[in-house]
Amino acid sequence: MAILVDRGTRVVVQGITGREGRFHTRLMLEYGTRVVAGVTPGKGGERVHGVPVYDTVEEAVEKHGAEASIVFVPAPAAADAVYEAVDAGIKLVVVITEHIPVHETMLFIDYARRKGTLVIGPNTPGVIAPGRTKIGIMPGDVFTPGRVAVLSRSGTLTYEVAAAMTREGIGQSIVIGVGGDPVVGLDFPEAMEMLGRDPGTRALVLIGEIGGDMEERAAALVREGRFTKPLVAYIAGKTAPPGKRMGHAGAIISMGLGGYQEKVEALRAAGALVARTPYEIPKLLASVL
């Protein structure tokens, strides 16, 4: 059993009839994900790649026992989609959508937590337990089952690192994109607490970037002895100028916080191996495994 998700996880796709929803539903089905239903208000009764579409998440839960949802709903309606999933009793909501106003994100994550629902994202490629299930948009073929977990704030860079690991024969237990926004649901420290207890995970790769203090908080968790598995980290944005937003809403050095050096120093002080390039990660992993 991976953490959070497994082979049997029943998934509902919110926004299934949109271009992205339709396309990724097919890819998830091909990967073996158990997509049991889709939701698009007003399109109830249709089918997408054989998956029944409903008007409400509630119906998808009642009729198919959906436990997790993946949200492809465009930004203006995305918050609404999350609230609906939470109220329908969905326990894991993966929000792929980018460009959701951060105030809305802050509120729906808080609401979800109080109702016992975990949000991953927004602005995330999702989560994949290689060989078991994929609730996300990552290309399945670069991942391979194994014993190293990957947590990342980035999308493409995660695929690049996973492909490099796979080439060196190092597989992944679970790969979670936590999202590139300033405020995200599941963050590094929370995921690390779960991975620390996961017998299927022997080591961890953290792919961080400038902005915020998530990497520093991950390092603090290790220093406090609350995460004890080997840790290899890479931080993107060494050459990013302060005060400039580097593509991701969350990737900005502001108010003197979020710089590259502080993150690397915090991680090194916690005993993590910090890779200078993404392509060094497999070699560093091999030295700790």
Binding site: P76, H99, I100, P101, V102, H103, M106, L107, I109, D110, P125, I137, M138, P139, V142, S152, R153, S154, G155, T156, L157, T158, Y159, E160, A163, G180, P182, V183, D187, I207, E209, I210, G212, D213, M214, R217, Y234, A236, G237, K238, T239, A240, P241, G243, K244, R245, M246, G247, H248, A249, G250, A251, S254, M255, G256, L257, R276, T277, P278, Y279
Partner: protein
């Protein structure tokens, strides 16, 4: 988007925050006439309206004892770039005598996923430094976003700053106004620094508001605000095309990638391999050939970029689509700059074939591609 000082002050003043009396002047205005028309009494402070920090140290704030000096200062500021940005407006204000400078802000605390009120007796230019050296000097009050900032929380912060009587009530009003601005604008940050203590009054001598770009569409009123001066010409052009582009202020390799993390990592790799990145350009996930063509078109005439490196790891992004975009850009602009491409992942082989036909070499190893781009930038 960062608003200019005078825009932030207009918003806060509308919510009841006391600000100095002032007037905004544009290039070509009769500055003396504007100052007299607004009834401003010297001494005055003349401030360059550019959306960057550290204006004071960069010579963007000038004290003027009289109207003549203010006119002269304004003229000078219009011709003085601050951190590379020229102001389109200058703010002239009455100088406010004061005894103490406070710091007050409402910011989004990423870790707590909550707004937080931050206050300090160490207002002025270097509050971030002060916070690092002396964390005890900073008062933080987390706010439940469903409840909003309540008066008693603001008063507690004011008391901790040592404010009493009318100053305490004034502080409460300012804090509540900042929070209201933060909430209604969907802001990331609303900051008054310094918040000056002048007798029994508080006055916002400088103000900064950073609005969440993703919330702009909800606030059509803000559409006209926010000087595009935050962006260079090339950055503004890219923004209009929906392409995140950052000029890095140095000559070298223009880095084009798919995804922010990937693009940043490629920039860093250029630096690791002895080069300098000149541009960050993220074509995003699933980019079409047209988008790639537009991205390369932006760089065709960019002086500081001596070579262009396109680093793509195809997932949702299809390498053949990217290759078609590159091929049509090369067709359209010729090859004004040396171009190096690395393709991996989805449809990489097909992409390589398309590029070969267009006479562009495509690598599969990212480090080799970076080394080549760095070498070409040196020669270029």
């Amino acid at each position: 988007m960062r608003l200019l000082e005078y825009e932030a002050k207009e918003i806060l003043s509308g919510l009841g925050v006391p600000v100095p009396r002032g007037v905004v002047v544009e290039q070509g205005d009769d500055v003396a006439e504007k100052i007299r028309g607004a009834g401003l009494q010297p001494p005055l402070v003349v401030k360059s309206q550019v959306p960057v920090g550290g204006r004071g140290r960069a010579g963007g704030v000038v004290f003027a004892p009289g109207i003549g000096a203010a006119v002269e200062a304004a003229g000078r500021l219009f011709a003085t770039p601050v951190r590379g940005l020229l102001p389109r407006r200058v703010l002239v204000e009455e100088a406010v005598e004061h005894t103490l400078e406070l710091y007050l802000a409402v910011v989004l605390d990423r870790a707590a996923r909550r707004p937080v009120l931050i206050a300090s007796r160490m207002g002025g230019v270097e509050v971030e430094e002060a916070a690092k050296k002396n964390p005890g000097a900073i008062i933080r009050a987390a706010v439940d976003p469903w409840l909003g900032l309540r008066g008693y929380v603001a008063r507690r912060a004011g008391l901790a700053l040592g404010l009493r009587g009318r100053l305490l009530r004034g502080f409460e009003a300012v804090a509540l106004a900042l929070y209201r601005a933060w909430e209604t604008l969907g802001a990331e940050l609303v900051e008054v620094n310094p918040l000056a203590v002048a007798g029994d009054r508080l006055v916002a001598l400088d103000a900064k508001i950073v609005v969440d770009d993703n919330a702009l569409s909800r606030h059509p009123g803000l559409g006209g605000r926010g000087d595009v001066g935050e962006y260079t010409g090339l950055e503004a052009q890219a923004r209009r095309l929906g392409l995140p582009l950052v000029e890095l202020g140095q000559e070298g390799v223009a880095v084009v990638g798919n995804g922010a993390g990937m693009t940043m990592a490629t920039m860093d790799l250029v630096y690791e391999r002895g080069g300098q990145p000149s541009v960050f350009l993220d074509i995003g996930g699933g980019a079409s050939a047209d988008r790639v063509r537009a991205a390369l078109g932006l760089l065709a005439g960019h002086q500081a970029s001596r070579s262009i490196l396109v680093n793509i790891f195809g997932g949702i992004t299809r390498c053949d689509e990217v290759a078609r975009g590159i091929a049509s850009a090369v067709e359209e602009h010729g090859s004004p700059k040396p171009l190096v491409v690395r393709l991996a992942g989805t449809m990489a082989e097909e992409g390589r074939r398309i590029l070969a036909r267009a006479g562009v070499e495509a690598y599969s190893d990212p480090v080799e591609a970076v080394d080549r781009a760095v070498e070409l930038a040196r020669e270029g």
